[in-house]
Symmetry: C2
DNA sequence: AAGTGGTCTAGACCACTTC
DNA sequence: AAGTGGTCTAGACCACTTC
């Protein structure tokens, strides 16, 4: 039995072209993730349970879950179940952190907060984070080091309303984990723009190098499950012993 | 009927762990692509035909073809058929060429050959391209420009035995298309390592800029369908009006 | 109208994990 | 032994393209 018409009505998509059942199931399950029905690391109900509950076949649920696994939203483990993806350091490291030592080793850098402030968003922040006028942002400046050697200075801007109280918290190394755990905000994808630049005076001091040295500037916008801007981060990286790894197929 | 045992024997994989049927079908179809049974742009037989020929269900063929489509090896078009992926400029541009104008426009740069030579591979080339001692390489140096402005100098190394006669050919803008059409070599994936560097004297002259200017160095290794090294390319890019775009999820 | 890939179902069995 | 996801089949029907 094909219930796509009913589900389409439930999801509120009338005749916007053809939208297959498994897509609707996927969208409904993502909505539940957004709503925090299951916390990161928790198992979802089994395929059979979800199929019965949603009134579709197990195969359709499987196709929806496979699509979500391909998007790194859930993790599937044969014999165990399907789990909400977690933002632990290991995942961040392989999914979003592309800097690798020239010897091939990946090391997650330690962080030290250099400065933190809250203020009205400036024009660039409003445009990048798609903020309404007068929205406040939290600005964080951090120095990141590997084996004690400073390699990255980063300037982070966050929409204050999305992260109430964050400015007063102790900040961990892995901010994405904090966003997920404390604010229910999941970073699902990022867009990074890379350029080569000369290090400016200020950054040079923080990095213990000379002004004018070449550095890799990474301008990153992080998006939530709902594709809303969550964080804008501009990093300046010394790439003497590191490189940015990009694998394409 | 499940014929996985038979196919496993055909493929010569005995008890190397479990290897599902659709995987074996995928591997056999990739072998045919490597052998040039179907040329780029040509349609494969329909799912039903392949299923009958290989003695598996249509669903299993579908799963194999879907996996190949996810790897960009074939293109599937509803109502028309499944086609061998082509290395046309448009595909290269979106799949392997990550430099985008700061205005968001993608422009495939024009190329001019600055130099070409054939010689025994040096140690670095042997190591990177996994070549036997005394193997010869073709070295190409090109200048690439957008709207007439030079933005990239690239140094390319190719294993001579894989591309016999290439050194004497007229070289098009899009080398990957040439490799596929004239030598049956498909670039299926690349690994890029990015660093920020200072432009050296020689490159500065070619790029009409000053030595010491910051530039993005892209060290790219291209692999074939069989994951053999095909091309080593080191590009030095001026990123004043361009950036390298990396989208992660 | 005929042919293609895309979706959906139902059911059998397998690989793997947990108890 | 029981439960999970993974594979495979067979068959119906749909969306889309071509003739």
């Amino acid at each position: 039995m094909n219930e796509s018409k009913e589900l389409a009505e439930v999801a509120g998509a009338e005749s916007l072209g053809f939208r297959p059942l498994y897509r609707q199931v996927r969208d409904r399950l993502i909505r539940r993730l957004v709503d925090g029905v299951w916390a990161p690391g928790e198992p979802l109900p089994s395929e059979i349970q979800l199929a019965a509950e949603l009134g579709v076949s197990q195969g359709t649920v499987r196709k929806a879950l496979d699509a979500m696994a391909a998007e790194n939203l859930v993790v599937r483990r044969q014999g165990r179940g399907t789990f909400v993806a977690r933002h632990d350091e290991e995942r961040i490291m392989f999914q979003f952190f592309k800097l690798v030592g020239d010897d091939g080793r990946r090391t997650f850098p330690q962080s030290r907060v250099l400065g933190l402030s809250v203020a009205k968003a400036n024009a660039a922040e409003r445009a990048t984070l798609k903020l309404a006028k007068d929205t406040r942002v939290i600005r964080i400046r951090r120095l990141r080091s590997i084996d004690g050697a400073p390699v990255i200075v980063e300037n982070i801007a966050l929409p204050e309303p999305m992260f109430p109280g964050l400015a007063a918290m102790e900040l961990p190394n892995n901010l994405y984990g904090l966003y997920a755990m404390r604010f229910g905000v999941t970073v699902a994808s990022t867009r990074e723009q890379l350029k080569a630049v000369s290090v400016c005076e200020t950054d040079a001091k923080a990095l213990s190098t000379e002004a004018g040295a070449p550095a890799l500037k990474i301008d990153r916008l992080a998006l939530s499950l709902e594709r809303q801007p969550v964080e804008w981060r501009v990093s300046v990286c010394l790439t003497d012993k590191l490189h940015y790894l990009s694998e394409l197929r």
